[in-house]
Every structure is written in structure tokens, then in C-alpha cells.
Symmetry: C2
Subunit: 460 residues, 2 copies
């Protein structure tokens, strides 16, 4: 296939939309360690998870053997409102860089939630509706997950309460407005509506909140409200499963042109986007069919893979959730407030943690001024204003493409452009004004976070 | 073609992108009255326009005979970054309304400028570059045009100064930030950088500015700066010409399924979106091939077609531009500050004015609380948060679909969804909080605007 035969943007037809997710766990030779019930330190059963999560997603969470899982028709119908998403050949970027590399990106920002988060929101809300639930709770930090979930609950007709990190709800009133336009209730967290919130407020009345605290409030409300469950937008296995629609579409589009990516790059906060993008390619790699270089990009200010420990940890700062074995900075780690984008989570998807630990992928960390420099360059050349999260992947892709220019290699680079930056303009303004600084935690600061790991036997 | 054979979204392939714009004037039996030089009251010549506009767009502006005009390859390449735009079958909306109507919309919001404005920005900047110009000036109100132009100037490598209505630059700091991220200079207007700005500031030091005033500043700077021209984002014939890419794509996509729209609906401020959407359909209607019902939707607060006069008027409040015969409320008309969306321009495209005057299209006006009600309903059912401007068309399309429900008619309704509302959330917040009010100018208020028409012979 000649270079110029590949369009700028490839849209699959709606009939080519995946009708099954791919369960990467079914291709892994060894599984990640099981979630543990923090009270008993025994592996979590479906029964343990039932008060918090919907039945169908629990089944998916615990399924390590089914390689392909049907996407219900109702979810496919929802996907058709904004999917298939385009696979873009970055001709303009290649030309501007003067690189022999061929750069592709899968763009997930063409929907009102502004990111890939909608892929799992749609699925989780559908299963909740099917189960006869009447309301859901969640937390949101940057706001993309809250928006996505509000869109899905509006569509399927379920109530939603979003615990929004207080400082975010103040700094991003417009994010709050979008969520409310879709009919969801936004509660700035910590709030006096939960015991967890009241406890934190009593200790720290002036706190701006944190994602971990908002999770604690959302879980508490879900378990105390009849016909209500909690939904989470990243980290967990079922979320990664839903996000595999990204990678499946990308692979199908690339296959049309006979293109095999040499490098796949994605930003990694909780890991759902990266996990979804790489899933079908990773399945091939796990089966020894390919040797694709897979790269997780994380912020230098919150470096769970590159500087964290592979240990059992809580998923929230309130220490209410099951324990997950994952790369983590400790649930007590709080990233510097000067970090502008998302990707502030202390841990990393157990699936990705395991794949990283077993050396099926690598990780790099990037500093935020470099990330915004890449974001601005990308906006000017490709015409899309990226979310700061997505710009982490852009930065790594640019580095890879420039390395190709140096070596003369015409690698196929695929990266995930998870979303748009329309609600991150405060950060862009800081960058434009030259007021943005970098932050890299010292070893001593990391040690403080590590001290928050639960004191349990780690080798099981 | 069966109903369910039409996908939710139809994307043409890139090879189907139009390579010619359609010049609707070449199909009109009689032309709109010529622009007049305000000094001589003689029809404007290309020479008159040369100090202000680029040579190629002047040629397009004055061309009433060439039915199809080539789109240069460089512009087609730019279009490929975000076009073809999807034609969406609004299945979710139809179902929610319970209407037998088939509703289609052409969605122009999937690009960072957030609207159709980029279609003309790309063209105008390309021609400027080709002519060897080094800088451009423009004005922006809501900010979509300024953003679009900043994207195009970043791509083609030309400097840009945007005179942004001062109140907008204060109310929409994030819009300003996007424009600056693309490397353009934003000057809140009125400013002390121009004689026009200084004159207004001397008279009204506290003014928040107006679009008309920003136009005056941009034109003055363009004419006083070497190798600089002024570019305008609506109203003029060449802008409508560039926007015909919308209608041409829409028609090609509908033709694939054998669908002929019975009604075409678009919001109308300066008229470029509506003019572009309807162009190929109007060409058929002008040739007697169809009798499509074509509807312009304007805000009740700024009703140039439904309550204005068809007279020669200035295009700016500073009275520096050529005179255009158009439906206008008078260049001195200032719409109520309580109007949240765009569509605040006092006049209307001369082409659309003529077509309306000759009864080839009709116009309706809608009140803003009804517009936001429609916007919210649309967001919840179709998953896209519309710009307030676009929501005017949504409101009229909903009314049409509900009328079909009453009568049982299965009409094909096509409307233009010009853009997204990510930068209009202040207005959505007002609406969510129940603080939004309607405003309809009284006859006496309209008379004040009418008093600002230039005192020249109107019948030529």
C-alpha cells in the first residue's frame, strides 16, 4: 500500500464496529494477583463486590478466561452516536517534523465528554439499567469521567450523583455545568453528605479534596442507598475491557492498509485508555506473533510505573476499597498541586502493572512543561487542541519520531489521543504566560507515600 | 433504501471531498444589488476593495456567473484535517420525539475551532499566503471565528491580530487562551491601538465594545499595515461560497441513500452557515427541479430577516465598510446584552437577503429560553452539547418534527449543527439555574436602530 493511499482519517463503517470486547487476561500466561478483601486478606469473591458494583461488571472483572466478550446491542447502539472514532494519519505532523516515521493516532475526543471515558460509561450504565438499578454514584477529578457518565445516565435514564473533587469544581465551573446540563447532581467533595466526607472536613475543614476522598464518598453513598451502585472510570479490569473498543477499531483500520505498528504509545493515569488501545496488539504479542514496542507515558510528578512499587495497595485514600496488587506510589501519595493535567492517580491498572512487571511493555515519564510544549506544537500542526493527559502521549510520540529522523528508520508509530483540552485552558493559559513549572518528587517525598502502603504480607 | 440501512453517521471518503465550491449566485435569476462605495455611492469595484481584502477573495466576491469554482489543492489538504464532516441521522432524537419524520443534521463541530467557521478561514488564509501577505486582521465576538482563523494562520504561517469584543475577552478568557495557543495576538476592542478604538474610548471609556467596533479597528489596522489585509467570517458572498462545502457534502451523502430533504433548517446570524448548507439544494430549487422548504432561524432578540428592513446599510457600526443591500436592523442596532448566544449581527448576507426577498426561503425567530430548552433536550438525546447558535436550528427542527407527529407526515428534515457549546457554558449555567430571560425588542426599539440607516437613495 503506497503512503498516499492512506487517508488522513480512516473511519470504519458502523457495521465494522466491534461486537465483542477483547479480554487481554485470557491471553496472559500468568494473571495479576487477585483483589483482596481488606478485612480478611482473602481474594475478593463476586459476593464481596456485589454491594458496590453491578453484577455484570463483577463477572467481567473476575473473568480471566473468555478471550472475547459480547458487546450488548444496546451498547453498540450507544457507541454509534460517536463511534467508530477516526484513526488519523498525522501527515501534517510528519511533514513538520521531517521524520521518515509514519505517525498514526486514534482520536477519542469527538464526543461531548471530550475523551475515551464514554466507552466504559456507556457499558457500565447499560448494565446498571439492565439490573434494575435506579441510581449510580461516582467521583470525578478533571471531569471527563463525570461528564461521560452523565451523558450515559441521561441516555439510559438513571440518576447519577458525582462527587467532584472540590478544588476541581471550583476551578472548572464549566465542567460542572456540562455535567448538570446532562441532569446529574454534582456534590463538591469532601461534603457533609457522607461519614467519610464529614470525617475529612472535621480534620481538614479547608481541604480542596482529592480523588481518593471523592471515591470514598461515592462508595459510601452507593452502599447506603437502595438500588444504587458505584461506578469507576479507570484502573479496574472491566473498565479496560470496555476500552478495548479503541484498540480493536485501530487494529481493524490499520489492517486495511497492511500497516503493523512498530511502537504503540499511550498516556497512563489509571491505565484504561492505554490498556484499551494496546489490548489486541498485546494479545498478539503475548502469543508471540509480534514484538511491538509498547510504551506507557506518565507524568514525572506522579510516576507510578517508573518509580512506584509493585505491591498490594488500596485503590482510594479512604482505604475502603479492595486491595489491588499494582504499581503504586502509595494511596497516601498526593501529587503536587502544580501539576495541571489529569493522570494524578497513585496507582496503575493491575493488568498493566502485571504486563509491565513481566516486561511486555515499558514506561517513560515526562515533565509537564515539555508536555505542553508538545501539545502546542501538535495543536498548530494537526489542528486539534489536545487534553494535557493526551499530550503526554504526544510528547513521547514526537520523541520517537525525532529519533527515527536521527536514525533514518521509517517506523510505524501509533499513539492514543484520548481527548480534547477545551476544559483545560487554565493550564494552557499558565503555559502561554510562561508561568508553568515542573515538579518531580524527591526520593524522600516518595518514601512518605510508600509509608502509606498497607502493612500486609506482599508475597502470596 | 430502507430506514435501517442508513447509518447513524455518514462520513464521505476523503476522495469524495468536493473539489469545487458551488456559486449559488450563478443560479439566481436576479442578483442582489451591488455593494456600494460609501464615498461615491457607486458600485464597488475590485480596486475599491483591494486595500482591505485579498485579491482572490475579491474576485470570488464579485463573481456572479461561474457556477462552480475550484477549491485549490492546498485548501483541500487543510480540509482533510477535519473534513468530510459527518451527516448524522438523528435516530435517538426521532425515537425520543416519537415522530415519523426522518431527521438529519450536518455536524460541523468536530474541530478545535468548534464550528463551521474553519471552512472559510482556511480558504481566506490560503489566498492571503498565496498573495505574499505577511499578516491578517480580523474581529471576533463569540470567538469561533477568531479561533478558526488562528488555526489557519498557524498552519499556513501568517501573523494574525484578532480584535476581540472586550466584554467577550473578559467573559471568555478560555476562548482568548485557545486563540493565543495557536499563536495569534488578541487585542480587546475598543483599544488604543487604532483611531477608531481611541475615538470610541474617548466617548465611552467604560464600553464593553461591540462587533461593529471591532470590525472598524481590524479594517483600520489592515489598511495601515504593509502586506496586511482584513478577513471577515460571515455575511460576504465569498464566505458563503467557501461554506458551500457543507451543503455539497450533505447532498452527496443524502444522494447515496436516495434521500431528498423536504425541509432544510439553519441558524442565521451573518448567514454563512445557512448559505453554505443550502447552496446546492437552492441551486436545484432556483432551476425549478425541487421545491424544498428552506428555513432561516434567527433569535427573537436580533430579528434581521423577520423584522428588519431590506435596505442599503453599513456592515459595521463604525460606518467604514462598503454599503450592502440587505435585511438589517440598522448598523446602530445593539442587541440586548441578555442574549447569550451569537447571531447578534445587525444585518444578513446580501445573497440570503435577496433569496428571502424573492421568497425562495422563509424565516422564523425563536426566543432564547426555548433555544436552550431545545439544546438541553438535544444534548441528552443525541449526546452532543450544541452551541447556542446551532440550537436555534435545533429548536426549529424539533418544532417541525413535532408538527410531523401531529400530521403523520414522514418528512425528511435536514438541519445544520454548526458547532459545539464548550465555550458557552456560562449561558448554560444561567439556563440551568433558571436565571435566563427572553428579550424581544419593542417596535420603538427597532425604530431607533432603523434611524441609523444611511440616508441615501434606496431604490436604484
Amino acid at each position: 500500500m503506497k503512503n498516499y493511499d492512506i487517508p488522513y482519517k480512516t473511519y470504519l463503517s458502523e457495521s465494522e464496529l466491534p461486537d465483542k470486547w477483547i479480554n487481554v487476561k485470557a491471553f496472559m500466561k500468568s494473571q495479576h494477583d487477585p483483589f483482596l478483601n481488606p478485612a480478611t486478606l482473602e481474594p475478593c469473591t463476586a459476593e464481596d463486590l456485589k454491594p458496590v458494583f453491578c453484577d455484570d461488571v463483577i463477572k467481567q472483572e473476575l473473568d480471566c478466561t473468555t478471550p472475547y466478550i459480547d458487546i450488548p446491542e444496546e451498547i453498540v447502539s450507544f457507541y454509534k452516536m460517536y463511534r467508530p472514532s477516526p484513526l488519523v494519519r498525522a501527515y501534517c505532523l510528519e511533514k513538520a517534523l521531517g521524520t521518515p516515521a509514519h505517525i498514526y493516532y486514534k482520536f477519542e475526543g469527538n464526543n461531548t465528554s471530550g475523551s475515551h471515558k464514554l466507552n466504559s460509561a456507556a457499558a457500565q450504565v447499560y448494565y446498571a439499567k439492565k439490573q434494575g438499578l435506579t441510581s449510580l454514584t461516582t467521583e470525578t477529578g478533571a471531569g471527563q469521567w463525570g461528564t461521560a457518565l452523565a451523558m450515559a445516565t441521561a441516555y439510559f435514564g438513571i440518576d447519577l450523583t458525582v462527587y467532584m473533587v472540590k478544588v476541581s469544581s471550583l476551578q472548572k465551573p464549566y465542567r460542572k455545568a456540562v455535567i448538570e446540563t446532562y441532569g446529574a447532581k454534582v456534590v463538591p467533595s469532601p461534603s457533609d453528605t457522607t461519614a467519610a466526607g464529614r470525617a475529612i472536613l472535621a480534620k481538614m475543614p479547608e481541604t480542596g479534596g482529592s480523588l481518593g476522598c471523592a471515591i470514598s464518598e461515592a462508595v459510601e453513598t452507593a452502599t447506603n442507598t437502595p438500588n444504587c451502585r458505584y461506578v469507576l472510570g479507570s484502573v479496574l479490569d472491566h473498565v479496560l475491557l470496555h476500552q478495548t473498543v479503541i484498540g480493536l477499531e485501530a487494529k481493524k483500520a490499520l489492517d486495511k492498509y497492511g500497516v503493523t505498528p512498530d511502537v504503540i504509545i499511550g498516556c497512563a493515569g489509571g491505565g484504561s485508555n492505554l490498556g484499551g488501545l494496546i489490548a489486541p496488539f498485546m494479545a498478539d504479542k503475548l502469543q508471540g506473533k509480534t514484538d511491538t514496542d509498547i510504551v506507557a507515558v506518565e507524568p514525572a510528578s506522579c510516576p507510578s510505573l517508573t518509580r512506584g512499587l509493585y505491591k498490594y495497595d488500596f485503590c482510594d485514600t479512604g482505604r475502603m476499597t479492595p486491595l489491588a496488587r499494582m504499581y503504586s506510589l502509595g494511596s497516601g501519595f498526593i501529587p503536587s498541586a502544580n501539576h495541571a493535567g489529569g493522570l494524578r492517580y497513585h496507582g496503575m491498572s493491575p493488568i498493566l502493572s502485571k504486563l509491565y512487571h513481566d516486561k511486555y511493555m515499558r514506561a517513560v515519564s515526562v515533565e509537564q512543561t515539555k508536555v505542553f510544549e508538545a501539545a502546542e506544537y501538535f495543536a498548530k500542526t494537526e489542528g486539534i487542541l489536545p487534553a494535557p493527559e493526551s499530550a503526554h502521549a504526544i510528547k513521547a510520540a514526537l520523541d520517537e519520531a525525532l529519533e527515527c529522523k536521527r536514525t533514518g528508520q521509517a517506523k510505524n508509530i501509533l499513539f492514543g489521543l484520548t481527548g480534547t483540552g477545551y476544559f483545560d485552558l487554565k493550564a494552557y493559559m499558565e503555559y502561554n504566560a510562561g508561568n508553568m513549572t515542573d515538579y518531580v518528587p524527591t526520593d524522600a517525598e516518595l518514601q512518605k507515600g510508600f509509608a502509606s502502603f498497607p502493612d500486609i504480607p506482599q508475597n502470596r
